[in-house]
């Protein structure tokens, strides 16, 4: 039952700020575990990269339940970056990904500037192809989005991470800001090799009958097909504001969705919530990109990047 993308003569390889991807599709962190959970359904080595669940230094317990709520064409989550800590990722998950031949991008989280650096330092000897610095999670009280909304703190955390590694450094931004281009420029100035966006939109759901919030933490991150127009707009804005490549995500569930993000300026894309609906969504998106390229006479997927005609 394990699926791989179809054969094609279309050139699919892209370079995301030094990260060589065999095709432009990765996973949105937190929606794919560390790949193993979906290996019955898709060959993780066939993806452009596997982006692993956000990891902190010593592990976090995450938030109280209920942690999710379904909303119109989307969902809210407030997992709170539950993770067992970087040692477990390094000892159990990354060797497994390497054994499969997968390209691993690690999403790095922290409650403090120093914690981000400590996570990266702990992984420098591990089989990691790139880091994604998560300054955008809306579900934690310290770190995450609180760091990603403020230009000077973005510059500080990105420069500190930059000094800790020569590997490709991708900085993941929150959409919950007034001017995402300004934040993207701050990340670029501090040494980011690429920008990824969007993380989830801060949202809320209420049960009118019980007059209570549907999430234990009251607010949470909104994702799924409903957020795609917001994500496309922000990817387009950021792609125009910075010179480094962009990893686009937000509501992608088909190949055509992925193509739209590339036309808006993304070099690569991530599939997130769609994995929950369709466990082969990643491979279906790659196949859909191939279909589009074959149908449109696109020989190399790089031709699509920023090819939007306005």
């Amino acid at each position: 039952m394990q699926r791989s993308p179809k054969e094609t003569s279309v050139k699919l390889a892209v370079n995301l700020g030094g990260l060589a991807m065999k095709n432009p599709v990765t996973t949105a962190s937190g929606t794919f575990g560390a790949g193993r959970e979906y290996h019955d359904f898709v060959d993780v080595a066939a993806l452009g990269a596997v982006t692993t669940k956000g990891v902190s230094l010593n592990g976090w317990e995450g938030n109280a339940s209920p942690r999710i709520a379904e909303t119109a064409s989307g969902m809210l989550n407030s997992i709170g970056l539950q993770n067992p800590g970087v040692a477990h990722l390094k000892e159990a998950e990354l060797p497994w990904l390497a054994e499969q031949g997968a390209t691993a991008m690690v999403n790095v989280s922290g409650h403090s500037f120093d914690e981000y650096v400590a996570v990266i330092e702990a992984l420098e000897e591990a089989p990691v192809a790139a880091y994604e610095v998560n300054i955008s999670c809306p579900n934690v009280d310290a770190g995450g989005m609180t760091m990603g909304c403020h230009g000077p703190s973005v510059e500080k955390v990105v420069s500190m991470c930059r000094a800790a590694t020569k590997r490709p450094l991708i900085v993941k931004l929150t959409p919950n800001v007034t001017d995402v281009a300004e934040i993207a420029r701050a990340a670029e100035a501090a040494g980011a090799d690429a920008i990824s966006l969007i993380n989830t939109l801060l949202g809320m759901a209420i049960d009118a009958r019980t007059r209570t919030p549907k999430l234990a933490r009251v607010v949470g991150g909104f994702s799924g097909p409903a957020v795609k127009p917001v994500a496309l707009r922000m990817v387009w804005q950021v792609a125009q504001a910075v010179k480094v490549p962009v990893l686009g995500m937000g509501g992608i569930s088909t190949g055509e969705d992925a193509v739209e993000f590339m036309l808006a300026g993304a070099t690569a894309v991530a599939v997130g919530t769609a994995n929950f609906v369709n466990p082969t969504a990643t491979v279906d998106v790659i196949d859909g990109v191939i279909d589009y390229c074959e149908e449109q006479g696109v020989a190399d997927v790089n031709e699509l990047i920023g090819a939007l005609t306005c």
Partner: protein
Amino acid sequence: MALCNENAPILVNEEAGCNIWLMTVVAPEIAAAARPGQFVHVRVPGMDDHILRRPLGIYATDAEAGTVDMMYQVLGFGTDRMTALVPGDAVELIGAIGRGWQPPAGCKRALVVAGGVGSAPLYPLVEELKASGAEVTAVLGASTIDALVARERYGAALGCEPACSTDDGTFGRAGFCTPLVEEALTAAEAAGEPYDYVACCGPEPLMRIVAAMAADAGVFCEVSLERRMACGVGACLSCVVDTVAGKRRACVDGPVFPASEVVW
């Protein structure tokens, strides 16, 4: 056992009583792989604005016919939409998922306690225990007589009537089923033939009370927990349960947990 995602044509979809429905689908791989207590994650067609799957316990499987039975109570948009499906339509199932019932090796005497549609995921356990030669007592609790939809199937598997209670007194003991559980535990103890296993699935307060009764009687007890779930394969960490070992996933670390590990 590897998970699979099967497109499962519907053979039967009908109301068994009191807003409780039975659906039989063709899903040969899941039917062959399923263990008692596991569940399927159902993608219901025609509700694209409600994107998530619905987890449903496996009620019965027929490996030869390649069929899977599910029992569902109509509680929200997804289950309501399911009632509109007819034979010839199909649902998409990920399965068979999770840690099922794990009775102690050589289990001789088991007490099975089901509240409402909790009778579904316990039924394959009853069949398995009976096949292994264990004595099985079943207690079924429901709101009213028409909601005791699994009673006949249980009777056939047990070779005798299950002990039943209804909240409104329309069948069996009036009130909750917990007094029947207490009596069964006490009687077995008094006869010098205590149970060596209690399995319970139903509303969480019922499971909490039964777990406490089993603990008092010194009998190993398992419960099947339900949480709001997104991926169903262990990736998203939406469905976590508080346990003595921290937060664990209801989907793949459960849904069945030893009751002593659950922090209620």
